[in-house]
């Protein structure tokens, strides 16, 4: 069965749909930062939304590219940058309803901990950001597995650094991958692309994952099944009352 690949952290630019389909993606999540949205008057009126709505069947979130005749699922994502735990809770409460995928920018140990303990968060992005260690330990791993919070390995962070840093970054990814195999929290691999030069083909990323200790199967899952599960879970999130109980009309 053909694997469908999703990239959960890209930034919109005109033409991204054709480039992504060419590389082999079936779905994208366009992420905007929470700072942009707080200053904008209306979350709805943005270039990405207009482009999306012009070609999209709104109920199904599918973007039909007229030239290649492939369809690409697109979703809205919001990335939260918080200064401390209270700020994080406030922002999660504010943005949870507006986003289909909610990411939290990690890096600070306290924010990592607060994000991983909050079941409303979908993805903890870059727990190693700006750190020398990986920013993630077994306590956080256990909490992430329990609250079903995914951790993101952002290949764009690896690519934009020069060679003398890349070895350290691979070591950080390796830590995350080792913890994943022990505690089994969801792990996603994304590209963080701002332009076509940031996109990477999913099959190539699966091979690159061998450099930081992930086998091909887990890497394939990190690019296909785990994103799909996150997106599906969010489509029924407003029907969930408590964990395990869902409300049917």
């Amino acid at each position: 069965m053909k694997m469908m690949f999703y990239d959960l952290h890209v930034h919109y630019y005109p033409g991204i749909d054709e480039d992504a389909v060419k590389m082999g993606y079936s779905g994208l999540v366009f992420v905007k930062s929470s700072e942009e949205l707080s200053t904008a008057d209306n979350v709805e009126n943005s270039e990405a939304d207009n482009a999306k709505n012009s070609k999209v069947n709104n109920t199904e979130n599918i973007l039909i590219s007229s030239e290649t005749h492939y369809s690409l699922s697109v979703f809205k994502g919001i990335e939260i940058k918080a200064k401390n735990q209270e700020d994080l809770k406030r922002k999660v409460k504010k943005f949870r309803k507006k986003a289909e995928v909610l990411l939290v920018q990690g890096g600070d140990l306290k924010i990592n901990r607060a994000a991983v303990e909050d079941a409303r968060v979908d993805i903890l992005s870059n727990p190693y950001y700006g750190r020398r260690d990986s920013g993630f330990n077994h306590v956080l791993a256990r909490e992430a597995a329990r609250n079903n919070v995914a951790v993101e390995i952002n290949v764009g962070y690896f690519l934009k650094n020069h060679n003398h840093r890349r070895g350290k970054i691979l070591a950080q990814f390796r830590e995350l991958s080792k913890l994943k195999s022990k505690y089994n929290f969801p792990l996603v691999i994304t590209s963080g692309a701002h332009s076509v030069y940031g996109l990477r083909s999913p099959h190539d990323l699966m091979e690159l994952a061998a450099c930081f200790g992930m086998d091909k199967k887990t890497a394939g899952f990190a690019l296909s099944e785990v994103p799909k599960t996150i997106i599906k879970h969010n489509q029924i999130r407003n029907q969930i009352i408590v964990s395990g109980v869902r409300f049917f009309k």
Binding site: G15, M23, V155, F158, L159, K160, N163, R166, S195, V196, Y197, G198, L199, R200, S201, H203, D204, L205, E207, L208, A210, C211, K216
Partner: protein, 134 residues
């Protein structure tokens, strides 16, 4: 009579089939801000391999860039080409391509279009655009 005239650089006799390394051919496409030619691709690939795997690891891959074609495009410069590598090292070679980010300060991106065991089938399946010969 001396029949062995030296005609320039002497070529080694080709190895018999049971000693030859088995090869695979990888078809790739590269999008860049400035146009690339074959020598640029060679230096990008070898530098990328050296940075990721070091001198020892690169030697085990037996890399070679065979040929590069220019593709018509409106906004970016696109080229397609074929890389040859050893049969068991395809995963490593494929993993080098995402790490290549820039050439002389301008951005580039590489991705694989497909792999094949022969040059002809690689060209036919992955390089040639529909209905167009290059």
């Amino acid at each position: 009579m001396n029949k062995n005239k030296s005609k320039g650089p002497q070529k080694l006799k080709i190895l018999p089939t049971h000693l030859r390394e088995k090869k695979r051919y990888l078809a790739f496409e590269a999008i860049s801000q400035i146009p690339l030619n074959r020598e640029d691709v060679i230096s990008l690939l070898w530098d990328g391999a050296n940075d990721l795997y070091g001198a020892c690891g690169t030697s085990k891959l037996e890399l070679w860039v065979l040929k590069v074609w220019k593709c018509p495009s409106t906004q970016h410069n696109i080229i397609r080409g074929i890389i040859r590598c050893k049969r068991g090292s395809l995963g490593e070679v494929r993993s080098i391509l995402p790490t290549i980010t820039s050439f002389h300060g301008k951005s580039v991106v590489f991705y694989t279009r497909g792999i094949s065991g022969t040059i002809n089938s690689a060209v036919k399946k992955f390089i040639i655009l529909k209905g167009q010969e290059e």
